[in-house]
């Protein structure tokens, strides 16, 4: 088993990018990597409880995904946590802007994290941004 670290910053609200971020997080986490996800900007509102709106497609592929039975990105992020022990942190700045409290967010998210801490934790390993 590899003991590599994968750090993923997600700021997009587009379906394709959220999907790819969730795929990297879940497959990385179940393959033995230590995965940390930092959710900010347009990505965070999808993780507010009760936010059921579908992420808009960026292009043709995203529209195609909607018609097929592709695993939902939020489900994949949750599996990354449950099956692979990934850590998913909401950005504290984005929470302030949204006026969201920790209890407003999905329960599989960790405690709010600042950018300084994410960056200092991410000095080792791969960094992916979506």
């Amino acid at each position: 088993m590899s003991s590599s670290k994968i750090n993923i910053m997600v700021v997009t609200g587009s379906r394709e990018r959220l999907q790819m971020a969730a795929m990297v997080a879940s497959v990385g986490a179940v393959s033995g990597s230590e995965v940390t996800v930092f959710l900010s900007m347009n990505a965070l509102p999808y993780f507010v409880k009760g936010h059921d709106a579908a992420a808009p497609a960026e292009g043709e592929f995203g529209r195609l995904m909607e018609k097929k039975n592709v695993p939902a990105f939020k489900e994949l992020f949750q599996k990354a946590v449950e099956l692979g022990d990934a850590k998913i942190y909401p950005c504290s700045m984005a929470m302030d802007v949204l006026a969201a409290k920790r209890e407003d967010l999905e329960p599989y998210l960790g405690e709010p994290l600042g950018l300084t801490k994410f960056l200092s934790d991410a000095t080792e390993g791969q960094i992916w941004s979506f």
Binding site: S2, V27, V30, S31, K68, V70, P71, L76, L83
Partner: protein, 76 residues
Amino acid sequence: MAEKKTIDARGTYCPGPLMELIAGMKMASVGDELEVLSTDEGSAKDIPEWINKVGHQVVSTTEANGTWHVVVRKMK
């Protein structure tokens, strides 16, 4: 006594079948065989990759009528 369990992941796409297999693996005992059914060819390639990486065993990979049957054994 080792058991054989079937995980029907037909109709979903990568990494859906892999995630369903891993969830099944957590419940299985060492020595058990799990057979994943998948209509997604990418998963039929990716599952053996994952199995080898984490140290389980691929028993067989076959395709019939558009469905891949990937049989694996839990080794640890």
